[in-house]
Symmetry: C2
Subunit: 466 residues, 2 copies
């Protein structure tokens, strides 16, 4: 991995903690304790004029007393002291600070003025500032975090950029997992564009998620995004969509928010996948990590239930996807397995064929044919998630094995039944299939893979033409 000018923030060798807390243990949100629990192996210098030592480490009265090279200072003092602390850091050659406290552009007029001072200090002295109002950074690979909230360390290829710690603490319900994170928060200096550029060149990261309330540096962000999205998928969750939401955002991160339609248009042009809600973030991240994009919009459906197929059709149509016109060969394969009276079309209801033959034979033949069918760009499997005593109803083995033979087409599944979570997890073993908890989410996931494929195709065409 090439050097990036933000490496020192993400993988510091030595860290000062200004305003380090003497209290540790549950409920004290001690940054140093959290950092050690996370596995940080670099040097830590606590700074607190009231303490002699903190968690067994000698404590300094002033950051200027440390007199050793420091990459990053984490500042956790009351807000009025922050500008002075950052200036002191700049004075002793510290490259960057992470300003944790709230009470800046997110608060009152005094807070707004304090934040303006921080921006000026950064511009004048060249010191970089992340925050204020931030959990800072998480890097499970280097073992560093500045978060005072507990974070699980997972070396996974998902990078998170956000304006709120909710996406760090709640990673399991947003992106599902997080290997690295940058909370740009109020963004007095370091913003979305640099964070995105960083993850764009980071070989540890394969999918990038960005939570965006507002983008003061809109043009620059979209220039970077256009570059990065060619190399790896970027999913965005734009919030503060409505007038009320936008007003609330200005008092949360102090962000300037733009019209939602404008964002949507620019997301599309730059190849950013816009997620409608948290569910789409979760499903999209998983799908983009494991499945290939769809090369067109034609979906083949294999189902245990006619009703499920019908619900799906409605959902596919909302995504700009269509039912593939299956080849005669595909139709005939399932027809010969079905009762004479059974009309076979897409969605293919294979239940009558299963009742006549057996589940694994029918499913293997049907899924193989659909995946081979040149009129199909992606496949949806609707099947049952039974409790263990009814394992004979479980199609996950055959779906998994068949999908693995066709890595160039995405296979997503919707499993209904009493044991959805466990059977879905089982189906996802090996990474050949992604299982979604509802038909509409399954359709939206194929929709994301289709939009990703369309962007890559258009982008290639533009390059060839240009």
């Amino acid at each position: 991995m090439g050097k990036h000018h933000l490496d020192f923030f993400m993988s510091p060798q030595s860290v000062a903690v200004i305003g380090a807390s003497r209290k540790s243990g549950d409920g004290n949100f001690n940054v140093i304790e959290n950092m050690l629990n996370f596995g940080f192996k670099g040097n830590i210098y606590p700074v607190n004029p009231q303490a002699r030592d903190i968690m067994g480490m000698p404590c300094y009265k002033d950051v200027r007393d440390i007199r050793k090279p420091i990459d990053v200072a984490i500042v956790s003092t009351p807000r009025d002291l922050v500008p002075k602390m950052v200036k002191n850091c700049a004075g002793c050659g510290i490259k960057g600070t992470i300003v944790v406290p709230q009470g800046f552009a997110d608060a009152d007029e005094t807070g707004k003025a304090l934040q303006k001072q921080l921006t000026e200090i950064s511009q004048r002295n060249g010191i970089r500032i992340l925050g204020p109002n931030t959990l800072g950074v998480v890097n499970a690979f280097s073992g560093f975090t500045s978060s005072f909230m507990p974070i699980k360390r997972q070396k996974v290829p998902v990078g998170v950029i956000c304006q709120s710690g909710i996406f760090f603490v709640g990673a399991s319900v947003f992106t599902g997992m997080m290997g690295k994170g940058i909370d740009v928060a109020n963004g007095c200096d370091l913003g979305f564009a640099e964070a995105l550029e960083y993850f764009g060149q980071d070989k540890d990261i394969r999918v990038i998620f960005a939570h965006i309330e507002g983008l003061p540096e809109g043009r620059r962000f979209f220039e970077v995004a256009g570059e990065v999205a060619r190399r790896k998928p970027v999913i965005a969750l734009k919030t503060a969509k409505t007038g009320q939401g936008a007003r609330a955002a200005s008092s949360h991160s102090g962000a300037l928010v733009g019209r939602h339609e404008v964002f949507e248009a620019v997301f599309r042009q730059t190849g950013i996948l816009s997620a409608g809600d948290a569910g789409e973030v979760l499903d999209g991240t998983k799908a983009l990590l494991h499945l290939p994009p769809m090369k067109g919009n034609r979906v083949g459906v294999i189902t245990f239930t006619g009703a499920g197929g019908i619900i799906l059709i409605d959902a596919l149509q909302e995504q700009g996807l269509e039912l593939a016109a299956l080849s005669d060969k595909t139709i005939q394969t399932v027809k010969t397995l079905s009762p004479d009276w059974m009309p076979i079309h897409n969605p293919m209801d294979v239940w009558p064929a299963i009742m006549k033959n057996d589940l694994n034979t029918v499913y293997e033949k049907a899924l193989t044919q659909v995946l081979k069918d040149p009129s199909v760009d992606g496949v949806m499997c609707i099947a049952i998630a039974p409790d263990p005593p009814e394992r004979f109803l479980d199609a996950t083995g055959v779906i998994q094995e068949t999908a693995a033979r066709f890595p160039e087409k995405p296979v997503v599944a919707y499993l209904y039944g009493p044991n959805q979570a466990a059977v879905s997890e089982n189906l996802e073993q090996g990474g050949h299939v992604v299982s979604l908890p509802s038909l509409s989410r399954a359709a939206r996931t194929l929709g994301a893979l289709y939009r990703r494929g369309r962007f890559l195709k258009m982008d290639t065409a533009r390059r060839v033409a240009g």
Copy 2:
């Protein structure tokens, strides 16, 4: 509970199984075996000319040989034999049949003609027919089911009406639970209106769910629905919304489907809650079972995260809900707990107050005030779902206890964090709070409670006026 003319279908004393299978065990879909496993204690008479006994019971060659009173005959023969079998049942005084096989209006021209014959037999001979193409009925209270698919027996107050077995087998991912079910399927005789009327008068059932592909008996259904919805909530999932979906529906259950906008309008008028997808069915069922309706559209929000509040605002607006203008007293209560610089408004970000004081004190005071506030009709709590070692971040205890003191206003929660499922389950203990897996689903759930409240209010006004 008063007698209803469909009682014999839901709680039969004696059942004939025509076309009973000799094979039992896994994967043989044996109706009798399933019925016994479910706990049926009535008389069972297997009918199969090829068998002497089935599962230890004497087997009859013909239903007419039984010569004992029979409430319901389950017919599982090849489709061509079905009309004759139903006629034989009528001939020996059996009140109703459940016709299981596929291959009728869901299939080819022959199948359509066969179904027409069934309708005529029913009209001519007075025998009632459920199906064809049905799993029939489930009644966890009486212990009867005709389903050949395994069903969990749960005595819960949720009634399911559907046109596909997916809602029986997959109950845990649709309504979450099912105490009774009627699969009207192809509906050659017994349809939605009667099924709805039945659950309407059934004291075991408190919430009714209906999956509707098409409604040949539209007018009658909506008359019944208008009556039933006054007494208990009815949630509908209308599928086959789009042109393609509608075409597929006609080959699934042979249903006539109408324009989606028409259904939506009539749902609104009759007080049926229309669910957009399976998630809304699941969340709505749970909320309507446990929480009171909202008396107006004003929501108070208590959050650990400004960003979460902002996402929520967008979602509330889509539901016709608005942020309550909190009273001065409510604002002051949280303001005195917060740092001076913290602006307090709705959504109320209580995190700075928690950092200054402690979680339980702050949450108890804030939630009590919001619930007492006359400008609030319902409350949303956004909090963390921590892993067990971080239990000090867990607000579920205080939310639960405080909500229990105000049973007249609904409290829903959204918990983000690494342990969402388990902490949500814990929060829901006692039935005072419902926890949803995303902010948009939480907003839609409040939306359903608001629409339920609005319908009841309008309905009362109409009665008073009329």
